[in-house]
Subunit: 108 residues, 2 copies
Amino acid sequence: MKRYNLDGTYFYCPVDLTLSVVGGRWKGLVFWNLRDGAKRYGELKKILVGINDKMLSQVLKELEKNGVVVRKEYNVIPLKVEYSLTKEGKKLLPVMQLMSNWGEKFEV
Amino acid sequence: MKRYNLDGTYFYCPVDLTLSVVGGRWKGLVFWNLRDGAKRYGELKKILVGINDKMLSQVLKELEKNGVVVRKEYNVIPLKVEYSLTKEGKKLLPVMQLMSNWGEKFEV
């Protein structure tokens, strides 16, 4: 039986693996909002109405751990931290784009 | 601001709407396992190792409510019930296929 390993977690179905990365509501939305380039923590928080700090920090850490988002710290005062998609993360954008297209049909 | 209405639930982002349909782990996996055609409840339960009856029934009901899965009852004894993707549901298959492709790279 085939197995898929994401950072030490094993899956028997590749869809299951991918859902674990961007399937969650906030994980998917944080990811999607990085599509146009790097964003600071505060910018993400402003866009994602309803997310709290605990959730946003946790989601960013998980996306980083999954290798699809990278955190970059700039050595300036005040501290500047930006998040952006990795090369591997960018390969997931077509998935999210198709999700967006499918959802668009429900516009009211 | 644009709004998207899925069966009375409003979203401000089409990705959010789609994640609510197939983003959950079990919702996504039940959906994906109907890609090759109709399946009976027992068949789904056998494939989806780890799912319990409460979760499987609930997920099928939600997918039906979201208009992507249809339940068909055959008038035979013993009762035969099959689940399959709707026309609208089939339009979501490319999303899941891309998820599968992305996940495939992690095969060990």
